[in-house]
């Protein structure tokens, strides 16, 4: 939309969402540190990456800069590649044979 600034309650909601999702990242970091096995940590880091994607989209909503949506898409791609490569490395000992 090419209209001007959003009303105040939209900005307030986006800021509150940023705080909530950042706190969820910290909570996921507990599982990434204390997880009993390696797949636990991979799952926790995958959840952190998805939360960071949400943070990037919320920041694009807050500032109105649409470049951050593209950045969120790149972060999602990097998270998927990380997950797949760690899964292959854990099972077979090498990523590309």
């Amino acid at each position: 939309m090419t209209e001007g600034a959003d009303p105040a309650f939209v900005t307030l909601t986006v800021r509150a969402g940023l705080v909530v999702v950042a706190a969820l990242c910290v909570l996921c970091a507990y599982r990434a540190i204390a997880g009993p096995t390696v797949p636990d940590r991979v799952v926790a880091i995958d959840a952190i990456v998805t939360n960071v994607v949400a943070i990037a989209v919320l920041f694009a909503l807050l500032t109105g800069r649409s470049l951050f949506v593209t950045g969120a898409l790149v972060l999602a791609i990097i998270g998927f590649i990380t997950t797949v490569s760690v899964a292959k490395f854990v099972t077979e000992g090498e990523v590309i044979e």
Binding site: R31, L61, T83, V90
Partner: protein, 115 residues
């Protein structure tokens, strides 16, 4: 209620839904007892929550440039997150992470034949 107000209310509702699903996924990640259960908790609600926030960006930016990128992000998330969870589940099973009681895995013969 004007159209701009409806636009803002829709954005707020989508952000609230997204934050709710992300919170549910994180609680499941912290509270569930097993790797496989935690994977179930993170993959589905986290995908739904991030897709809702992407959809809020689509509503905000319109069907032009960044809105189309948001729809592409939703499609990409729904494509890749189950694939990644499946690969981690297979890796955990091959590492020998124990199941809960009464849980079985498909026969290892057809599991090995695909690689």
């Amino acid at each position: 209620m004007t159209l701009a107000t409806l636009h803002s209310v829709l954005i707020v509702a989508l952000i609230v839904v997204g934050c709710f699903f992300l919170t549910v996924g994180t609680i499941g990640l912290l509270r569930f007892p097993n790797v496989y259960n935690r994977m179930h908790a993170t993959s589905k609600p986290t995908t739904l929550g991030t897709a809702a926030i992407f959809f809020a960006a689509f509503v905000e930016f319109g069907p032009g440039n960044a809105g189309l990128t948001s729809l592409l992000g939703i499609f990409f998330l729904f494509l890749t997150v189950p694939t990644g969870a499946h690969m981690i589940a297979r890796a955990a099973q091959r590492m020998g992470v124990p199941f809960m009681e009464g849980v079985t895995w498909p026969e290892p013969s057809d599991d090995d034949s695909e690689e």
